[in-house]
């Protein structure tokens, strides 16, 4: 079907096995870092190094398929404690070794691809050994957790005690808590539980110049909220070694409803009304006509009817019932029709799309996603502008795309737009996508949106971040970095536009 719809011409190279890569020997000796973390926690072998090369964007996958190993770290180092991280950062600052903090490796914005040519070498600082639930304060409903915990590990540890963080991004199965914080991750249930940056109330950060400890209360007027400077800093200012996160009791009840609208525009109005009336559903999403029709997660069940919204509610039974009744009244008032199986089906497939992407790449398609957010009044223009920019760029390149969109997160004042783009791979799919992505990013800026709602900046969005926060905003980021990382070893080239 895709082959027909997209005009796919040839199959893409299949992913190679790790043994197919040819890496030069590491440029760094093992001994010095082994002294800090123990020799058994240093990987210098090709497999470790390849597995810590770049992230999971489509461009990353395409380049791995071509056995491009540029950017592979020289060593993979796995510290076991805050003090070991501090010692490593001191060592690397002295020796001018670039450090890439590594959690789940799921960046889709080039967040693991430092500009390290001027350095003696690159270390991937894999935090997987720092995976403890350090403390659970049931009275305050906060948990102290280590950054290397993957989503399911953290949920299992808390679940045993009856609690949940409620953070379920599509990368949940692999991504780490430190990564959620460093990138301001937003999950599928963030409308109800809050974005990860809203759930973090405390942080311990190891930097090349020492330890920063933040967060003595839920909220404070003690100057700027410096937690908010570390959240979103993408490993450029320090390494998060501990997080204090709001938790909630495992919900007694979960229910996900589907609602059909006559048009995306009508759906937008309804989800806005629900968001502004509050309290928000736990999950609230709305697919446009194209996404509803294609239903990428279950292509075998082609969608029928108009644009589909999913409204999910999690919590105590009575509270779920009240919230659901309140939102359902608005949906009905806006002429939506209930779609009973849609909620269930969404829940079953919520982590499936990334897997599907591999199959599509195998088949010679190019599939990628991008997201933005804006205030409600800006959304129609953003939606049109980004869609047109992508379509024009890819048509000009001879590969007319299918463009799908959904509102993935809602707020009282605005919402996010999440685009999925599919087309045939051109001769050089990397350049092909870079061109289309630049056009979309320019359209986001022109439309008044933010360059990223929850994927982060990495290297892919860096130039547009400079536009978004302006030269003074960039100046603040550079000044903070110069203060905490004077040698500039932490994720050089990531996030912060160079001078």
């Amino acid at each position: 079907m895709l082959r027909e719809a997209l005009g796919v011409r040839a199959e893409s190279p299949r992913p190679g096995s790790v043994g197919d890569f040819r890496l030069g020997p590491p440029r760094l000796p093992v001994d010095a870092v082994a002294e800090i973390v123990g020799a058994e926690h240093v990987g210098a072998d090709e497999e470790s190094r390849i597995r810590h090369t770049r992230g999971r964007s489509t461009l990353d996958l395409l380049r791995l398929r071509r056995l491009e190993s540029s950017g592979a770290p020289d060593l993979v180092v796995m510290p076991g404690s805050h003090d070991e991280v501090l010692a490593l950062l001191g060592h690397c600052s002295e020796r001018r070794i670039a450090v890439v903090p590594f959690g789940g490796g799921t960046s889709v914005v080039g967040g693991l691809e430092p500009e390290a040519a001027d350095f003696e070498g690159v270390i991937a600082l894999d935090l997987q050994r720092m995976n403890a639930l350090v403390d659970l304060d049931e009275q305050s409903r906060i948990a102290v957790l280590e950054p290397g915990l993957r989503g399911p590990q953290a949920e299992a540890l808390l679940g045993e005690r009856g609690y949940t963080i409620g953070h379920f991004p599509q990368s949940f199965e692999y991504a780490s808590l430190g990564g959620f914080a460093a990138t301001r991750s937003s999950g599928q249930a963030s409308s109800g539980y809050g974005r990860f940056d809203e759930l973090v109330v405390g942080l311990t950060v190891a930097t090349p110049v020492g330890t920063l400890t933040l967060g003595r209360a839920p909220r404070s007027a003690a100057g700027p909220d410096l937690r908010q400077l570390i959240l979103g800093s993408e490993g450029t200012l320090g390494v998060i070694t501990s997080l204090t996160v709001q938790v909630r009791p495992v919900p007694e009840r979960r229910v996900y409803d589907g609602w059909r609208f006559a048009s995306f525009t009508e759906g937008l109005l309804a989800v806005r009304r629900v968001a502004q009336a509050g309290p928000l559903p736990t999950v609230l999403r709305l697919s446009d006509e194209a996404e509803t029709a294609l239903n990428l997660a279950r292509p075998e069940e082609l969608g029928g009817g108009g644009p589909l919204a999913i409204a999910g509610y999690e919590g105590p039974g009575d509270e779920v019932a009240t919230r659901r009744a309140r939102a359902s009244l608005i949906f009905e008032d806006e002429g939506a029709l209930g779609e009973p199986r849609a909620g269930e089906s969404w829940e079953r497939d919520r982590y499936r799309l990334p897997y599907l992407r591999d199959a599509l790449l195998d088949a010679g398609a190019l599939v990628e996603t991008l997201e933005t957010a804006g205030f409600w009044s800006a959304l129609p223009r953003l939606y049109q502008g980004v869609s047109s920019a992508l379509r024009d760029s890819l048509i000009t390149q001879g590969t007319p795309p299918i463009i799908l969109c959904h509102v993935s997160h809602v707020y009282p004042t605005g919402a996010s737009l999440y685009f999925t783009i599919g087309c045939a791979q051109a001769e050089d799919p990397v350049s092909q996508w870079r061109l289309a992505k630049a056009a979309a990013s320019d359209a986001i800026m022109a439309g008044g949106g933010t360059i990223t709602h929850h994927h982060g900046v990495g290297t892919d969005h860096r130039d547009w971040l400079a536009h978004e926060v302006g030269p003074l905003g960039v100046g603040i980021l550079r000044a903070a970095k110069a203060e905490l990382d004077p040698a500039g070893i932490l994720n050089p080239g990531i996030l912060i536009p160079p001078a």
Copy 2:
């Protein structure tokens, strides 16, 4: 009554009239700034200068009563636009003139008392002319407002269009929107509407090096949230010249309930349960035994019964009913008894306490407040620790105090504690209070709380801020200031601990 209870010995000097002050001539010429803002918008007269001297803390009032005019600005300058502010900051940077951004003048933490000895002079930058509702986006429920708007002015402009910000701190009648943002103000209804720092979605900031414009979406993953660096910066990084703020429809219904508990401890448990069950009441406060008994706002109606909580609900009728029913069930389950008149009485007196303070000062009493916040599990220790520290300090000084406390704001993970202290004035009430306040601040740090929940840092909390965020946190603030205000003219000595 107070005279007896506190052992007040003598009356305090009454406030002098403006004519009683003797100021030297301004150290700065009027001409240069008059060229920027117009001569009619520059005040060099004694009255203007005295009215812009210091803030409204008890120490400020005591010093004004003694006709201390130290710290009076040389000129009061009233710009009418962002561009005029930019021009003024450029001029003052060149000439090394300290600038004190001035909104309502209601700081209670020494936020208007710069350390300006090394400067050519001091300008109070009064933003009162910048008082427009620039734009109301009803679809996004955001309003663009100028910083000089006082609380009631902003509410009147929005109210005409059917909207409210919902921000009602005790300083509401005088304080300005720019001040709310610069100090991370929290209002009496912030549990429901959100703190002011949560309501701000966009900022325009004039700095000595240019303009910073932040906020293209409700939330973003485009790096650190730099809005959160300006919020709470207390005029040290720039002058906020425009704010985009979330607004809501004027509530259809408002209702305030009173609930009595057997003890403060039982009340704490109940308000915690309500906060954690959510959705939060619009207003949720709980007075301890002493505060309930004294009922400072209406001393003529001495309180009876146990500690009193106020739970208020504002919004659409059905939503108010649901939220109220949900919270009331928990209060009843915790054994609270309804106190029908208490809610009404609280509403009537919500802005009254600051006026009462003047009368108490007249009578020779010393009355002051301070606040902190912490996670729920830390609150009992904070409550005890701060109370003991204040009591010990003031007893040692021969002026045994009355100490009242209430929880003023609640969150799922913690709450604030707001203390009111009354005692007889000692010979030197300024030193007397400084000693007691230092003891309380040390106890806040020892108890794990934040040095301020909503009053801000100013000069009074600066040393404890240094402890709270540590040397690296202070380093970040200094680095941001050096970037945006290289000549250091903006509020020197406020907020940021000196090197």
